[in-house]
């Protein structure tokens, strides 16, 4: 390149620079398709289609409307929680307390409804519980700089314990005057699609917007990439981190509201070990535990795969005892896939 450049006239060269600069500004690194092929959610989606194809041969019950309805409803609860978990994991954090929070928020919601309050008040109690738990997690992590793993592990134990104390270890299935409305919100469906799937869809669209178009989203991703640089750029890192844990808890609160309505009862054991499924869904959906990566579509796609695995095992007649094994296996496979893709990219 240098040889020919030296032989060019100055005018030619000046024009070349202008042309280069122009093309540089307008050039994009990858085409839309190329970019999509490099994302994990895309490949997990392909895996879902393939697993679905295999299952439609293995079991006649698989491709039925009934089964699709069940799969989509079951995955939606985890998908909603995974949307929030994605934000936390994007900051290189983790929230192990989501399962316990589901139990605690559910018990508070159920007790408020049982006491005769309206469904709106119940919703506020549920979401309020979530916000408080998120704030506690976030403040301990952001301002006292405690490790997210430890803080949320502690919260996992504490929230569960408080749920037991508050419920006096009893099941609640009386939801007061608004019982029908409440159970219809969580368990009903619209146009043949479960309400909770609509909620997941709406929330996924909101998160798509958040990650692509909001300053908050940009800041969360920046903090995941390089917290020091984010801080030096004037981003209020601590406040953003607190907000991320609140958002994660809020998603769990919303999931709890739908979940209790769907199951029609609240026990304080509700949501135990859900953190495994939610974190698996998030990671399978492309989140990187080192932070800095987030896909809104990854949460529902990851949750769909986790639920599909469960459903497939069931229909294939494999004992339910194998479920956690396969969820764990796919979690590890997802991380492996990510590794391989990264090496290929460099």
């Amino acid at each position: 390149m240098t040889d020919t450049a030296q032989q060019q006239s100055p005018a030619q060269k000046a024009m070349d620079h202008a042309a280069i600069d122009d093309s540089i500004t307008s050039r994009q690194e990858m085409t839309g398709l190329g970019a999509m092929l490099r994302t994990q959610p895309f490949w997990v989606f392909v895996a879902i289609l393939m697993l679905g194809l295999v299952m439609s041969f293995v079991s006649d019950a698989f491709m039925t409307e009934r089964n699709m309805f069940n799969i989509s409803r079951n995955m939606a609860f985890f998908g909603i929680m995974a949307l929030g978990m994605s934000a936390v994991i994007c900051t290189a954090g983790i929230d192990l307390s989501v399962g316990s929070l589901l139990g605690l928020a559910g018990i508070n919601l159920a007790l408020v409804l049982q006491a005769g309050w309206s469904v709106e008040v119940g919703f506020l109690a549920c979401v309020g519980t979530a916000i408080i738990v998120g704030l506690i997690n976030g403040i301990l992590i952001a301002y006292l700089r405690l490790a997210p793993f430890v803080v949320t592990l502690g919260m996992l134990a504490m929230a569960r314990s408080i749920a037991m104390v508050i419920s006096n270890n009893k099941m609640v299935y009386e939801f007061g005057p608004d019982q029908d409305v409440f159970e219809n919100i969580g368990g009903g469906s619209m146009m043949g699609v479960p309400n909770v799937v609509w909620v997941l869809t709406a929330m996924t669209l909101i998160f798509l917007w958040i990650w692509r178009y909001t300053q908050w989203g940009r800041w969360v991703i920046a903090i995941g990439g390089n917290p020091q640089a984010a801080k030096l750029s004037g981003i209020p890192v601590e406040r953003v981190i607190v907000s991320v844990y609140v958002v994660c808890s809020l998603c769990t609160g919303i999931a709890a509201f739908m979940f209790i309505g769907y199951t029609g009862s609240a026990t304080n054991a509700m949501g135990a070990t859900y953190e495994l499924n939610v974190i698996s869904a998030t990671v399978i959906g492309g989140a990187n535990l080192m932070g800095g990566v987030v896909y809104a579509l990854g949460a529902p796609i990851g949750a769909a795969l986790v639920e599909l695995i469960r459903n497939s095992l069931l229909l294939a007649g494999i004992p339910a005892l194998w479920q956690q094994f396969f969820v764990g296996l796919f979690l590890i496979l997802a991380v492996l896939l990510e590794q391989i893709r990264n090496r290929g990219g460099k």
């Binding site: 620079h17 540089i24 500004t25 690194e29 909001t214 940009r218 991703i221 640089a229 750029s233 800095g292």
Partner: protein, 246 residues
């Protein structure tokens, strides 16, 4: 009146004394070269001016007024921009996103207020073109060469119209052509009344664009002279300690 006055700036990190009573003034339109051996305290001094951490002792005056910076944003609001030695970039974001980090441009009204990707990409592209850097605004910083990363860090300082630009080894990793552009940029900044502090190990750069050179040795300022009254040999002697002070 000088733009920036440092008075007796001292900084200790525990037992390490990084700076001992450093005085420094800089006038509008002036460029000062700050030189010194590795670990002499140059970056520490720059970070204090940029509000990363407060000095252990000493005072910072801007246009004669004492200021106290609690965080980098305070310094930026007082018209100070900095290119950090380690560049302080987010690898997982695009070049344009890094240029605008913390001061993203937005359009529309709440709740549909959104990042103005088009405007930010365009402006970032213009800034890179101005630096004659072949940096594409939409590329991820992770995939960039050292020089492109440096261009991103420098482009950041061009977003506002700062009074003082601090550059901590801005030419460390870049090509001859880009070095020339950075030096040109410093000259343009001077011509438009901006002040620049340039930390560099490259003697020719400092002698090309700076009006004064200050030398730090083990945290103490040992020289501060107009560039016309010194030579590269003398400065080298001051840096390594062959010459005690000047």
């Amino acid at each position: 009146m000088s733009l920036l006055d440092l008075k007796g700036i001292t900084k200790s990190f525990g037992a390490i004394h990084a700076l001992n009573g450093v005085d420094l003034s800089i006038a509008p339109g002036e460029a000062v070269g700050l030189m010194g051996d590795n670990g002499a305290g140059k970056s520490t001094l720059m970070k204090i001016i940029a509000g990363n951490f407060p000095p252990t002792r000493g005072q910072i005056l801007i246009e004669g007024e004492a200021v106290l910076f609690h965080k980098p944003i305070d310094a930026r609001n007082s018209g100070i921009e900095i290119v950090y030695q380690d560049l302080a970039l987010c690898d997982n974001l695009t070049a344009a996103a890094n240029v605008f980090l913390g001061r993203e441009e937005r359009t529309g009204i709440w709740p549909f207020r959104k990042l103005d990707h088009a405007a930010m990409t365009k402006r970032a592209g213009e800034l890179f073109a101005e630096l004659k850097s072949e940096t594409r605004p939409r590329d991820l910083v992770r995939q960039m060469s050292g020089g492109q990363r440096q261009a991103v860090a420098i482009a950041r300082t061009r977003l506002s119209d700062p009074k003082l630009v601090l550059m901590d080894e801005p030419t460390a990793a870049i090509s001859v052509r880009q070095v020339a552009e950075v030096l040109n940029l410093i000259k343009r900044l001077k011509d438009t009344g901006h002040a620049v502090i340039l930390v560099s190990h490259r003697m020719p750069d400092v002698f090309d664009v700076c009006d004064r050179v200050a030398v730090l040795r083990r945290g103490t300022k040992v020289a501060d002279k107009p560039i016309t009254q010194t030579t590269p040999e003398e400065v080298t002697g001051l840096i390594i300690g062959a010459i005690e002070a000047a």
